[in-house]
Symmetry: none
Subunit: 202 residues, 4 copies
DNA sequence: CATGAATGAGGATTCATTCAT
DNA sequence: TATGAATGAATCCTCATTCAT
């Protein structure tokens, strides 16, 4: 029963099925047949909408990076006039948004990270996303800190965010938002409070 | 040219070939044929020494976790009487040992991490390794800090270490040891210096 | 050239190719590639229709057991009112139907028998078929003989049928229907005629 | 620790291991490695004593046919002066000797039968054995019956013996010696008693 | 006489992709 | 638009055989 205007519906359906499949068996054991079955469509449909399997995976990765971008952007929007610390914490919160820390999302990110090491197309997407986090953080820190110090702080905070995420994913346990908040808050305050004594030695 | 006592030699050969192949094409595109060719042996030998491909991958992961363990242990050994900070920095340095931060090692870790999400056997190895880092750090922090604070600090430092590593791997650029040292040193000192004002608010 | 409704056609095609291949090289040297080539299709199609090689072999065995069942049933059908002897002879004739005694069929049976000793799935099929012959014969004998004697006669006749078959298969020569008829007819008449003098001594 | 005069010991060891392996996994899944392990020797030894796998299988088949021959011969030996019936029953008993009707032996026979359909060497051995049974039986019947009738009786008795054997093997249950004796005794007596009334009609 | 390391051909299976309907 | 039949390359694994020691 072909219908018109199915494209956005089918794409959504298939991306969701892809994420769900990745959650179950991982990106490498996710077969087109499995994804199609889960989406309730035939295998042929995938090439119709995404050209090939890579196209589907790329679209899926694009989807979760967009979700992350949105999660951050929506938290930052109402805080245009807020303090640097507040805005930094909002960015952190965005990265720990529900959409990003549930099991399926973390598995997908980890799988995409690994895949991106060997697939240029995915690598590009990953790099854009990774740099965006750094740039966003660096821009905020720059409001209160000198350039190099801001970059260092941004690098540190981005690493901590990703590290917290990574360890949560690998531990197999639910993401502990409380601990993540405590540690990132500490880090942000210390960076903004100045670290003269430490920097002296370098 | 069969000989006796080849086992350790062959195993080493094959694990090295596996790491090298993972570096080139990733764990999922690493075929038995490719690994065997690189090791200069026939494919059949792999099942002879490792039962099957999974056995080889597991042995390879075991190998890099052992390297990490050794890198940390060898740095810690001569510091039995040293200060907590010195010992913590030694642990960090161990994690950033050459054997761990060269491109091939980082790719292998990332691939193993992703695989460990879906392969129980690898997951177990990963969890052991991940927990060891946390325990080692927590034990050191515990010398100067109360229990809960030590655990928090350990979690934070472990996350930062893994995060720095992860972002380096994904960036495709060489690991910047200088920045990593600066950030981890900062973190350690601040944790050991006490964070009363921050903890008050929680 | 994909079409709809190909399933029954392809299954038939593949089962026939399997029987033909078994006839040529035996069940153990029958490779998927060979069967597929003979059927004029690709190897992949087998898993499409039969899941795997075992599925195909099972379906093939199911097919020849069904042929045997049909051969017996069709002979028995018009003989609802006939004498026990006539009906027993019809059952025997069914077992010696052309479909069962040509070289390919006999080889297939022998191969399946051997395989069924070590493959539970095939064993089950074999047992059903073997018991059906016994039950059918026993039911007929029961019309004229006491229970235990009927069972003994059924056992003996079934053994003679299978033995004639087996020795024909192993001899490599065409099945000698005349001798088979003579011997089974003798057996049936003697059983039905009563064997008091013999049974006395046991 | 090489020794002299090991040949007969090793051959016996390996043939027993082969039978045991066939009993467990069937002739087709019996690998050299498995057989060697079971015999407690290395794989290389097999080619040393039997040239190759086929040589071992052939020797094994030769072994069980010899056992059958011996079982019959030893029973017949003391009965040089006995009646035809007694001698025929002795032959039957030989075929149902313990060495022939235990599970492992029946599986081996069935496997060899199937293999012999496609392996000339084994086929030859099988044919010799099969014909020997027929000839032995025919010779006995010939003492009391005309030539053709004797041959028919021999064919029938051989078929019944093999059929009883086959059905026992396939049933998975222990060979029921009592039933086998009853049926074969019946058959022999009836053949020897004359079957004029039956033969009239052919 | 005996070992077991090493080979490599051969087979089953999987799966992305294509395409007639 | 949508299906699912069909392909066949790619991969892992098994295993008989060889042979240096």
């Amino acid at each position: 029963m072909p219908k018109v205007g199915m494209q956005p519906i089918r794409r959504r359906q298939l991306i969701d099925a892809t994420l769900s499949t990745i959650n179950d068996v991982g990106i490498n054991d996710a077969t087109i047949a499995q994804i199609a079955r889960r989406a309730g469509v035939s295998t042929g449909i995938i090439s119709h909408y995404f050209k090939d399997k890579n196209g589907l995976l790329e679209a899926t990765m694009r989807d979760i990076t967009r979700q992350l971008r949105d999660a951050v952007a929506s938290r930052l929007k109402p805080l245009a006039q807020a303090s640097t610390e507040t805005r930094l914490l909002a960015i952190v919160e965005g990265n720990f948004d529900d959409s990003q820390v549930h099991s399926a999302a973390m598995k997908a990110w980890l799988d995409f990270w690994a895949s991106s090491m060997h697939q240029p197309q995915l690598g590009r997407l990953e790099r854009v996303s990774s740099r965006r986090l750094f740039s966003t953080l660096a821009a905020e820190f720059r409001r209160d800190l000198p350039r190099e110090q801001a970059r260092l702080a941004a690098h540190g905070l981005a690493s901590m965010i990703d590290g917290l995420w990574l360890r949560a994913a690998l531990s197999g346990e639910p993401f502990n938002l409380h601990i993540a908040r405590t540690l990132t808050t500490q880090f942000i305050r210390q960076q903004l409070a100045g670290t003269e004594s430490l920097r002296k030695e370098e």
